[in-house]
C-alpha cells in the first residue's frame, strides 16, 4: 500500500510543479498579482509531496519491503541500517528522486527568502525552478519510477547494494554533489528571470552571488569526498582518474568557479553582464549534461548504472529543450543589454576576464576529452578511450597559468591599477618564490615541473598574505580592528585561493614523490620498501554482517620502531557473490602508508600492493578550505540587506 502512496504523491508533486511552471509566469505577463502570488504555496506543496515520496521510499528500504523492485535490487535484510538508508540513492531511480528532492529543497529555500526580492522576480525564479522540476518528475514517472512493484513473486531477500557503495564516503558523497549540481539551478533561474523581466542590471548578480557560492561550496565538498572515497575504496590509491563521470562533475565546477568571479565583476562594476548570464546558463547546462552522461550509460564508467536507451533519449530531449529554450531567450534578449561602463584593461576586471577565459577554455578541454570517444564512434572512426595523460598534458599548464593570475589579480584595484605598481608589488615575492621553490626542488630532486608549480604555489601564498597585510596596515586604526572590518567575502576569497594552493602542493607531491610496489608475500615474511619494513604477521578469516573476509595483519616498522598496524581485507559479499578489496592505510600529514591485497596465489602467499603516498591528505584538506571559503563569502553581510524600493 505504502509504495503506491509514494507513487501517487510523486504524481501530485508533478501536478504542482507543472502549475508552478505555468501560473506565476502567466501572472507576470498578464500583470496579475494573484497569479504571481501562487508561486510560494505551489513551491511548498510540490516540495512537500516529493518529500513524502522520499520518506516512503526510505521506509520501504528500512522495513525490507522487497516487493518494491528497486528495493529488492539494491538492498538486503543483512545490510547495515545506515547503508539501507544510503541505498536509496545507490542506483538510478532513487538517485533521481534525491535529485528532485534537492531541487525542491533549493526551491523552498528561495521561496522562503524571496521576500527580499522585488515582487515579480521571486515568482519568476520559482517558476523557472518549477519547469526544471517538471522535466525531471516527468522523466521519473515515465521511465524510472522507484516504486515499481515486483508482484506477486516477491523475492525472499534482496540482491544487496553494490559493495563498492557500502561505505561511509558514499553515504554523504552523492547528496553533497547533488546539492552542488542542483544548486546551480538557482543561479540559472535568476539569470532566466533577469532575461524575462529585462532587468539585466547588476542587482540580479547580487541576488545570485550567495546562492552560487553555496552551491559551489557543496559541489567542491562533493568532489572532494568522491576523490577521498575513490582513494581508499577502489584499492589502487588513485585520487582522480579522469573518469567520464568525474569529468562530469569537474565541468560544472570549473564553469561555476568562472561564474562566481564573473558575478563579482557584474555586481561591482556592471560589466560582463550578458557574459555572466550566458555563463549561468552554461553552468547549469553542464550539470544537466553530467546527469545525462551518468544516467544514459553512453559512457563506459564505474558510475554508469543503467544502459537503458529510452532513459538516455528522454534526458537528451530534456537537455535540448532546457538549454535550447534558454539560449533562444538569451539571443532574443541579450541584444537589449546596454554596453556597460567601459572597463579598464589594467584593472581587476581584466584579471577576472583572464580568469574567465582560462576557466572556460579548461572546461572546453575537459568537455572535448570526455566527449571525444563518443564523437569518434559517431563518425565511425573506431572505438577509443582518452586516457589520463591527455587531461594531464592539457590541464596542468593552463591551471598553473590561471594560478599565476590568481596570485596577482587580488592586488589590483577595480577599473585601473598602474602596471608599475603591480610590478613593484610582485617583484620581490616573485623572486623569493622562485628561489625557495628552486632550493626545495633541488634538495629533494623534484625536477623542473615541481619547481614551476612550487613557485606558483609560494607566489600565491606570499601575494595573498601581502595583500591582506597592505589592507590592514593602511589607515590610522590598529591592525586587529581593521582586520575585523574586512568583509567576509574577502576572507572567503583568501581561504579559497589558499585552499587551491594546498591542493596543488598535494597533487604535485603525490604525483612526484609517491612510491609503489607489488609484492608476493606470505605469513611471517618481511618486505622492505621506501625505508619501511612491512611484516606480515598472519592471515585471519572474518565474518561481517553481509560478507566474509580474509584479513592480513601487517606491522610496519621504520628504523626498528613500529609505526603502523595495517589490516587490509579481501571481502566476499555473499548476496552478490562479489569480491571486494578493502585497503588499509595509515594517514599522516606528509605521507600515507597504503596496503591492499591482490589475489591469493597459493596456500600461503598473496600478492599485495604497497604504496607510500606523499602529501596526499593535502589535496582534500585544500578542498575543505575551499568549501569554507565558499560558505564564508556567502555569509557576507551585504547579501542580507533587503532590496530597497520594491520596484528596483
Amino acid at each position: 500500500m505504502l509504495p503506491e502512496v509514494g507513487n501517487f504523491s510523486l504524481i501530485l508533486s508533478l501536478f504542482f510543479a507543472g502549475s508552478l511552471a505555468i501560473v506565476p509566469i502567466t501572472g507576470y505577463w498578464r500583470h496579475n498579482p494573484i497569479l504571481l502570488s501562487t508561486a510560494r504555496p505551489l513551491t511548498l506543496l510540490m516540495s512537500c509531496f516529493v518529500l513524502v515520496s522520499f520518506i516512503v521510499l526510505a521506509i520501504a528500504f528500512l522495513t525490507n519491503d522487497f516487493s518494491v523492485l528497486y528495493v529488492s535490487l539494491n538492498s538486503n535484510s543483512n545490510l547495515p541500517i545506515w547503508y539501507k538508508f544510503s541505498a536509496i540513492w545507490g542506483s538510478h531511480e532513487g538517485s533521481l528522486l534525491l535529485w528532485v528532492l534537492i531541487l525542491c529543497g533549493w526551491s523552498t529555500a528561495v521561496a522562503l527568502k524571496s521576500h527580499t526580492l522585488p515582487k515579480e522576480v521571486g515568482p519568476i525564479v520559482l517558476s523557472v525552478l518549477g519547469m526544471v522540476a517538471t522535466g525531471f518528475l516527468l522523466f521519473m514517472l515515465f521511465t524510472s519510477s522507484p516504486f515499481v512493484r515486483d508482484l506477486p513473486n516477491v523475492p525472499a531477500n534482496g540482491e544487496d547494494l553494490n559493495p563498492l557503495l557500502q561505505d561511509v564516503g558514499l553515504v554523504i558523497h552523492p547528496p553533497m554533489l547533488y546539492m552542488g549540481y542542483v544548486g546551480f539551478s538557482v543561479a540559472f533561474a535568476f539569470a532566466i528571470a533577469a532575461l524575462i523581466t529585462g532587468n539585466l542590471n547588476s542587482s540580479w548578480a547580487r541576488w545570485a552571488r550567495p546562492w552560487t557560492a553555496v552551491s559551489w561550496a557543496f559541489l567542491t565538498l562533493g568532489i572532494t569526498l568522491g576523490s577521498w572515497w575513490a582513494y581508499y575504496e577502489l584499492g589502487w590509491g588513485g585520487w582522480w582518474f579522469w573518469d567520464p563521470v568525474e569529468n562530469a562533475s569537474l565541468m560544472p565546477w570549473l564553469a561555476g568557479t568562472a561564474l562566481i568571479h564573473s558575478l563579482a565583476v557584474t555586481e561591482k562594476r556592471g560589466v560582463f553582464k550578458s557574459w555572466t548570464v550566458l555563463l549561468a546558463i552554461f553552468t547549469f547546462s553542464l550539470s544537466l549534461l553530467g546527469t545525462f552522461l551518468v544516467r544514459s550509460g553512453v559512457l563506459t564508467s564505474v558510475h554508469a548504472f543503467a544502459a537503458d536507451p529510452t532513459r538516455g533519449v528522454f534526458i537528451l530531449a530534456l537537455l535540448i529543450v532546457l538549454i535550447g529554450s534558454s539560449l533562444l531567450l538569451y539571443s532574443l534578449r541579450a541584444s537589449q543589454v546596454k554596453a556597460g561602463v567601459a572597463f579598464g584593461l589594467t584593472g581587476r576586471e581584466a584579471w577576472l576576464l583572464l580568469n574567465n577565459i582560462i576557466l572556460t577554455v579548461l572546461t572546453l578541454t575537459v568537455l572535448l576529452g570526455t566527449l571525444y570517444p563518443l564523437l569518434f564512434e559517431a563518425l565511425d572512426l573506431g572505438r577509443i578511450s582518452v586516457g589520463a595523460p591527455y587531461f594531464n598534458t592539457v590541464f596542468s599548464p593552463l591551471a598553473l597559468l590561471l594560478m599565476v593570475f590568481m596570485a596577482i589579480g587580488p592586488l589590483s584595484k577595480w577599473h585601473n591599477t598602474k602596471p608599475s605598481l603591480l610590478v613593484r608589488l610582485c617583484v620581490w615575492p616573485g623572486v623569493v618564490s622562485i628561489l625557495l621553490a628552486g632550493v626545495i626542488s633541488y634538495a629533494y630532486h623534484l625536477g623542473g615541473m615541481a619547481w614551476l608549480s612550487l613557485s606558483v604555489a609560494f607566489l600565491v601564498v606570499l601575494l595573498t598574505c601581502k595583500d591582506w597585510f597592505l589592507k590592514v596596515s593602511s589607515g590610522s586604526k590598529g591592525i586587529i580592528p581593521r582586520a575585523r572590518q574586512l568583509p567576509r567575502n574577502y576572507y572567503g576569497m583568501m581561504l579559497a585561493h589558499l585552499g587551491l594552493v594546498v591542493s596543488l602542493i598535494g597533487i604535485l607531491m603525490v604525483s612526484t614523490c609517491s612510491e609503489e610496489t607489488t609484492v608476493k608475500i606470505a605469513a611471517g615474511q618481511t618486505v622492505s620498501f621506501a625505508g619501511y619494513q612491512f611484516t606480515l604477521n598472519q592471515f585471519e578469516s572474518l565474518k561481517g554482517p553481509n560478507y566474509v573476509a580474509d584479513q592480513a595483519d601487517i606491522a610496519v616498522y621504520q628504523d626498528g620502531k613500529l609505526v603502523a598496524q595495517l589490516k587490509p581485507e579481501k571481502r566476499f559479499y555473499e548476496a552478490r557473490r562479489q569480491v571486494m578489496t578493502e585497503a588499509s592505510l595509515n594517514a599522516g600529514i606528509t605521507r600515507d602508508l597504503y596496503v591492499s591485497l591482490g589475489e591469493k596465489l597459493d596456500d600461503q602467499a598473496w600478492s599485495m600492493r604497497i604504496y607510500v603516498k606523499a602529501f596526499v591528505r593535502w589535496i582534500w584538506f585544500g578542498g575543505i578550505l575551499m568549501v569554507c571559503g565558499g560558505v564564508l563569502s556567502a555569509l557576507d553581510k551585504r547579501y542580507r540587506t533587503r532590496v530597497e524600493g520594491r520596484h528596483a
Binding site: 567601459a342 584593461l345 572505438r383 577509443i384 595523460p389 598534458t393 607489488t518 589475489e599
Partner: protein, 152 residues
Amino acid sequence: MHPVRRKRLITIAIIVLVLSGAIGLVLYALQQNINLFYTPTQIALGDAPTGVNIRAGGMVVKGSVKRDINTLFVSFNVTDFKHTVHIEYHGILPDLFREGQGIVAQGKLLSNGTFLASQVLAKHDEKYMPPDVANALKQAKDNTPSKPYNDN
C-alpha cells in the same frame, strides 16, 4: 584607434592566444593519448598495429589462466568466439577478473601476436559487460566480415 575598440581588440587577442595555446596542447595530447580498441578477430587478421598503445578485449577463455609460481606473472586468452588473443600481464588482476568474464586490456601488441598488457580492466559486477567487449562479440556473431576500425 578608438579606446573602446582597442580594448575589444586586446580582449579578443588574449582569447585567441589562450585558445590557440589550448588547441595546440589538445592536439598534441590527443595525438599521443588516444587508445583504439581492437577485437580479437581484428588482431588475428592483422588489423591492429604492433608496438603502440592499444586496447583489446573479449571473454576470458575458461582454463586459460596460467600463473607463475614465484612472480606475479600471469597469462590468459581472450576470445570473441571466433578468434583468440594471448595476453600476458605482470601484476595484480582486478577483483572482478574471472574466467568466462568480459575484460579489457590496455597495452601493446607484440610482433609474435602476444598482447603485453600494462593494465587489465574488469569493471562493475558480474552482470556488467564492458561495452567494447559486448560490441566485439556482437560483431563476431553477426558473421559479417568485420570492418577494420581505422585505416592506418
